[in-house]
């Protein structure tokens, strides 16, 4: 009746990396990060050359001077954590697709689709636009805005805290509405014993003293879209006349940063052709203007626009990202925060052990609302009829939402299945994918190498800080929850 199984082992699904002279692994099936001791690393090295039977593996360890009982314990530990798999290992269950009953957490209110700038790369009005705003309201009405707040509170079920982001167009072109929404939402939330946070994205051209005071007094997080010093900002972030916007926003930004202390003021830089001096931009925005954090993203485009980044430019961007990541690490090791958001965001997700079914919360915990009250997966799909997910008045179109989420699920993306960075990337931005490939569910293959390279770098930073100043990482425990 008793029989012995002869296990054979192979490596699990992990990505190994080194930092500060130590060996680490990123366990893909879980999003977990472990430091390995020498003998555990030896087992992984042995299995990397091919599968090994249980007795052979134990024998090799014992032959290497390891006690048999300890070797058994080691192999058991590695198998339990799924760093090594036996023939009998059961794959981890796949997250359901589409996810069921995911309560709303945040709304992005596009309170206007109008803008006083004409940035040439704009995804809403530029060459690759998908919005179809003809005949629709240009400014959100107070009625629609209040209904959106009520909708958010009703759809967020038992969540204690919800969030509203104000967006545009240029958000501040409808500042009057923004003020009223903040006051109304605070009343409604207080009546339910819940809490709410706010943020907005702006081009900063319309900032004024009363606006800055309101934002500061109401703890409203501010993200400024800005591409760097004058010569870079004015290359594409221009008025309709073609005049650059730097001279207008510079004094306003200094005042905003000097006055608004209740929330972090962050800069969001779009990298495009000729605007690739990442380090120069960072220095200007962080050190000269005083932004708390600066985040960078390559422009979204179909790949054939005059403002697209070339492969050489992208390589330059990546190497500058590495230099700033090293700087981030040096700061962290001496306990000082660094403002390069691209590292901080990834560290925050690594700390959590994020293992995403979808690249972001779009269509899941987050929805965009257009000025007319149409729902979309996020602000980037606002006013795009083909991507509507219902309306504030009639609620979420569950069929369309299900289709969007089913397409966007990482399990539906063939190329992602063999990629170790899928727990964090999950195929990348739905909007980017639609603009590039015509399908929100298409993995963003043009970024794969770059994302893997960047995530590997962030893991090295994570590993080094976990050795040199582990307490510092704890600061990032709640980063995602607060952002």
């Amino acid at each position: 009746m008793t029989t012995m199984l002869s296990h054979s082992y192979r490596p699990g699904d992990y990505h190994s990396f080194e930092a500060a002279g130590e060996k680490f692994i990123y366990l893909v099936s879980a999003g977990a990060v472990f430091a390995l001791d020498e003998v555990a690393n030896r087992v992984l090295d042995m299995l990397a050359t091919g599968p090994m039977g249980h007795a052979d593996l134990i024998g090799a360890l014992v032959g290497g001077g390891y006690a048999e009982a300890d070797a058994e314990g080691l192999v058991r530990e590695l198998r339990h954590a799924q760093l090594i798999l036996s023939d009998h290992s059961v794959p981890a269950p796949v997250a359901p697709n589409p996810p069921k009953d995911f309560p709303l957490q945040a709304l992005v209110l596009n309170i206007t689709n109008q803008c006083n700038l004409s940035c040439t790369y704009c995804y809403e009005f530029g060459a690759d636009k998908i919005a179809t705003p003809a005949g629709k309201p240009k400014f959100m009405s107070l009625e629609t805005a209040k209904a959106s707040v009520d909708f958010l509170l009703a759809q967020s079920a038992d969540r204690k805290a919800v969030h509203i982001t104000f967006f545009g167009g240029e958000t501040l072109m409808n500042f009057k509405l923004l003020q009223e929404v903040v006051l109304y939402a605070r009343e409604q939330v207080a009546a339910q014993g819940r809490s709410i946070t706010f943020s907005l994205t702006t081009n900063a051209t319309l900032l004024s003293d009363p606006i800055i005071t309101f934002l500061a007094e109401n703890d409203i997080g501010v993200t400024v879209s800005i591409d760097g010093p004058a010569e870079m900002q004015d290359k594409r972030r221009v008025y309709k006349s073609g005049k650059g916007s730097y001279a207008v926003i510079e004094p306003k930004l200094r005042k905003l940063i000097a006055t608004h202390k209740s929330r972090a003021i962050t800069a969001r830089v779009t990298l495009s052709e000729g605007v690739t001096d990442v380090i120069g931009i960072y220095r200007h925005l962080k050190d000269e203007l005083g932004f708390h954090e600066v985040g960078f993203a390559p422009v979204t485009d179909s790949g054939e626009q005059s403002y697209s980044l070339s492969a050489e430019e992208m390589n330059s961007v990546v190497s500058q990202f590495h230099a700033l990541a090293d700087e981030w690490m040096d700061h962290a090791l001496s306990g000082r925060p660094h403002g390069f958001s691209n590292v901080s965001e990834t560290i925050g997700e690594l700390m959590q052990g994020a293992n995403k079914s979808h690249p972001c919360g779009a269509g899941l915990g987050l929805l965009g609302v257009s000025p007319s009250g149409d729902l979309s997966p996020c602000h980037r799909f606002t006013d795009a009829d083909t991507h509507s997910l219902g309306t504030i008045a009639d609620g979420i179109d569950r069929e369309k939402q299900s289709d969007f989420l089913t397409r966007g699920h990482v399990g539906a993306k063939y190329e992602c299945q063999s990629c170790w960075v899928r727990p964090l990337c999950a195929g990348g931005c739905h909007h980017e994918a639609f603009v590039r490939y015509g399908d929100t569910g298409h993995p963003n293959l043009h970024y794969c190498d770059w994302i893997r390279d960047w995530t590997d770098k962030c893991l090295q930073v994570y590993g080094a800080v976990s050795v040199g100043n582990p307490e510092f990482l704890e600061r990032f425990t709640d980063r995602k929850a607060l952002s």
Binding site: L27, G31, F34, A35
Partner: protein
């Protein structure tokens, strides 16, 4: 865990899970970690979970510990077909076909 140092929240959860497995019922295990009696004969009751323990089974291990009942190789008969659960396997003429008829026994 001795050889792996957890460095993020997810790793710490795995650490807790693995530690719980280490403290799982050792009577069902031997070194190497192989459950007894499960391979060649159909013998409901000897499943192990993905980690080789019994903590993560989809139903309690007591649910269908049929082989103990029939062949008595467990230190005591569980369920006890001598005194308390004489009919437990009455609807299970052939284990491979009728194992679903084995119900939970509440002592």
């Amino acid at each position: 865990m001795k050889h792996l140092r957890p460095l993020n929240k997810k790793a710490r959860r795995i650490d807790e899970m693995v530690s719980a497995m280490e403290e799982d019922v050792v009577a069902l295990q031997q070194q190497p970690h192989v459950p007894m009696g499960c391979a060649l004969a159909f013998s409901p009751g000897w499943e192990v979970d993905a980690g080789g323990g019994t903590a993560g089974l989809c139903q309690p291990v007591e649910r269908d510990i049929y082989d103990c009942y029939v062949t008595c190789f467990w230190p005591v008969q569980v369920p006890d077909h001598v005194n308390y659960s004489q009919d437990w396997a009455g609807n299970c003429a052939s284990a491979t076909k009728d194992w679903r008829n084995l119900d939970i026994v509440f002592p």
